[in-house]
């Protein structure tokens, strides 16, 4: 049942993409249907339907959070770049994630790359290595916050792992 939902959601999404790409022109819809079918098959091969699925409404909230934070990220780096003393203190930090494998971890790693001061270097199992622009910033709290938001996108209950925001490594 869950697989049927996933497949129809992907077909719907790809049709929407086709509609946007052709700017609403319906003359090429036959070709569009073939391409959509092929793309769906490829997507099922590459990303088989998983137990955890993206919930549309939390995802929308996540996008808003993401846009807000990425604006902060851009301004933060610009500010450091433009100040004459170049206030950076780069270094590596390692975190152990409590999110399940697959989509959730992938989304977290990629989101962190566009968040203020963090860049995902390697994701190996539950171990995530980050490169930080300034290790004096409260990176841990940031990572845990994004982790919590990602958990909400996939409808995972925030377990006690997410509640250790105040603790230091």
């Amino acid at each position: 049942m869950s697989a049927v939902t996933t497949i129809s959601a992907r077909i719907g999404l790809l049709l929407l993409v086709w509609w946007a790409l052709t700017e609403g022109d319906s003359s090429g819809i036959g070709f569009g249907l073939v391409v959509t079918a092929l793309a769906t098959v490829i997507s099922l091969r590459l990303f088989p339907p998983a137990k955890v699925r993206i919930r549309p409404f939390p995802f929308l909230l996540f996008m808003l959070f993401f846009i807000g934070r990425s604006v902060v990220a851009g301004i933060d780096v610009s500010r450091r770049l433009l100040s004459p003393s170049l206030p950076v203190n780069p270094g590596y930090l390692t975190f152990y994630l409590s999110l399940p494998e697959g989509g959730p971890r992938w989304l977290l790693a990629n989101t962190l790359s566009l968040m203020p001061g963090t860049l995902s270097v390697s994701l190996d199992g539950e171990r995530l290595d980050l490169h930080c622009l300034d290790t004096r910033e409260p990176v841990e709290a940031d990572v845990r916050l994004v982790e919590q938001k990602v958990a909400q996108v996939f409808g995972l209950s925030p377990n006690n792992h997410f509640r250790q925001e105040g603790s230091q490594q």
Binding site: E23, S70, A73, S78, L119, V121
Partner: protein
């Protein structure tokens, strides 16, 4: 209409400024990884402003979705390539310092 055009000019200019700052990061930062910080985050913001400016002038909903799609795909590409470059740099660093002290 005048106001919309004024806003568009403002947003486009802001976008270009951020792209310029991102490029400045290539020169001011000395390490590969800090340079990637500048390029991914600041360029992302620059593209965001330009997309916003274009969205104010679109003819239809489908064109608006196309512009947003471009933004989403560019974001995904930038995050993924940043991650790949960072991983390559890290493994090179590791290979270079093998035998000497390891600072993990």
């Amino acid at each position: 209409m005048q106001l919309v055009q004024f806003l568009q000019v403002l947003l486009l200019a802001a976008g270009c400024v951020f792209f310029a700052i991102g490029t400045l990061g290539l020169f001011r930062f000395s390490e590969t990884l800090t340079r990637i910080h500048a390029l991914t985050k600041v360029d992302n913001l620059g593209l965001g402003f330009i997309v916003l400016a274009l969205l104010l002038g679109v003819a239809s909903l489908a064109v608006a979705m196309k512009v947003i799609l471009i933004w989403v795909v560019a974001l995904a590409a930038s995050a993924t390539s940043a991650h790949l470059i960072a991983r390559a740099v890290r493994s090179q660093d590791r290979a270079g310092t093998r035998g000497s002290e390891r600072n993990d």
